[in-house]
Amino acid sequence: MTHIKDIRQKVQLTEHTVFNVNSTNFPGTYTDFDDVWSQERFEERFQIDIISLSETDMEFDMVGVDAAIANAIRRILLAEIPTMAIESVAIWNNTSIIQDEVLAHRLGLIPIKADARLFEYKQKDAEEPTSEDTLQFTLKIKCTRNNVSSDATDPNVLYKNHRVYTKHMEWVPLPGQEHLKAKEIRPVHEDILITTMRPGHELLMDLYCVKGIGKDHAKFSPVATASYRLLPEIRLLREFYGEEAELLQKSFSPGVIKLVETSDGQKMAKVANARLDTCSRNVFRHDELKDDVSLLRVRDHFIFSVESTGILPPDVLVSEAIKTLMGKCQKFLLELDSTSIGKGKHKKGGKKA
């Protein structure tokens, strides 16, 4: 029975193979388990623990969900949460050496600190930007010579404005965007280098930001990375003493195995913190250890790591991701209720629930 439980709940790492990778907890797979979906059972098991949280980074544990759901949240974080990014650039003057199209591409990738929830998607056929769907910035900068008589060679001394940073981008509120002034619309970082110039070089352009999602272009992705790993579990199948214990400790990442002193003065290995393990499987290189250590990962314990680009805090992103998944379900439920598909009209004798 415990063996079957392990198959259901744990992924097993062996020397050359990984066993029990896929979820098998579906009705019909086992005779002794009830795997039918139950919201009550889910709510009982489901758990979230926030490990760390800062303005841009977050780590949290999500326990009691299937990989399909955890992965949906990860994918939504990467590709389906809207942000504002520069989509079109009107270049009135560019005498720097960087080409117009390269410059426009660089500008597109700059994270813009603006809550996309306050905006609408720009309609495909709409030509004029409106205050609901567009943010405008201007970039107007000219590189000039500094009045220095010395024979300095440092460009910082010689020239003014020879480095163009995101801080030089200026937000221009469109008519009707006065209420956004309190929100501090700006690039997230003020020190992203856009281009460098020399005296006589000049930039004059209007930058238009629209709302978009990462699926369309990676510049809209609200995260630098969003990933998860499964919680490792290490089982020592016998006791390890002395040199063997030290070898065992060395086979894992620091902090995973601790050595405790027994009453007769020997050092004995104990698992201190399996969470720190990277699952390198180094232990299987030692013949004297490999048969007595079992490396597992808990299949429904996800350690999420979310790094925001700084546009929205990571905890808001995770909430938005779950809401997005809910929204997808809602969209199809509405569709099923409102069209003939859900009512079974395309078949003779429509059925009811």
Partner: protein, 130 residues
């Protein structure tokens, strides 16, 4: 825009969201293939999981017909119930599950935020946590 279909605002008005593939033989509403437009593995796999948990489902699977087509084909075969009902139940279950995940997350966040702020020595200052 490289792909207009990825924009939810555009797709809603122009294309159907959900279609049913008509079957050759009549009266088989327990065997159906649905076309979910503008969806991918994100919803496809989550939906497959929740439908697999339903004992009325004999088979469920999905495929992305072509990388450049923004849709998935979802096949449901049930043990008797109409596939549409099962699909609807799947969406309901998934939605309810997400609702619980969201509340758990936000409750936990509000609880943990105080202790986390102490660790970060007040580096977290933001207008609101909503």
């Amino acid at each position: 825009m490289a792909n207009a279909n990825a924009n939810p605002a555009l797709s809603a008005t122009q294309k159907p969201v959900l279609e049913v593939v008509e079957m050759k033989s009549e009266n088989e509403e327990s065997f159906q293939t649905f076309i979910l437009h503008d969806e991918d593995h994100t919803l496809g796999n989550a939906l497959k999981f929740i439908l697999n948990k339903n004992p009325d489902v004999a088979f469920v699977g999905y495929s992305i017909t072509h990388p450049s087509e923004n849709k998935i084909n979802l096949r449901i075969q049930t043990t008797g119930k109409p596939a549409v009902e099962v699909l609807k139940q799947g969406f309901k279950d998934l939605k309810q599950m997400c609702a619980h995940m969201l509340t758990t997350f936000e409750v936990r966040l509000n609880k943990d935020i105080i202790s986390i702020m102490e660790v970060h020595k007040g580096s977290l200052n933001r207008e609101s946590l909503s």
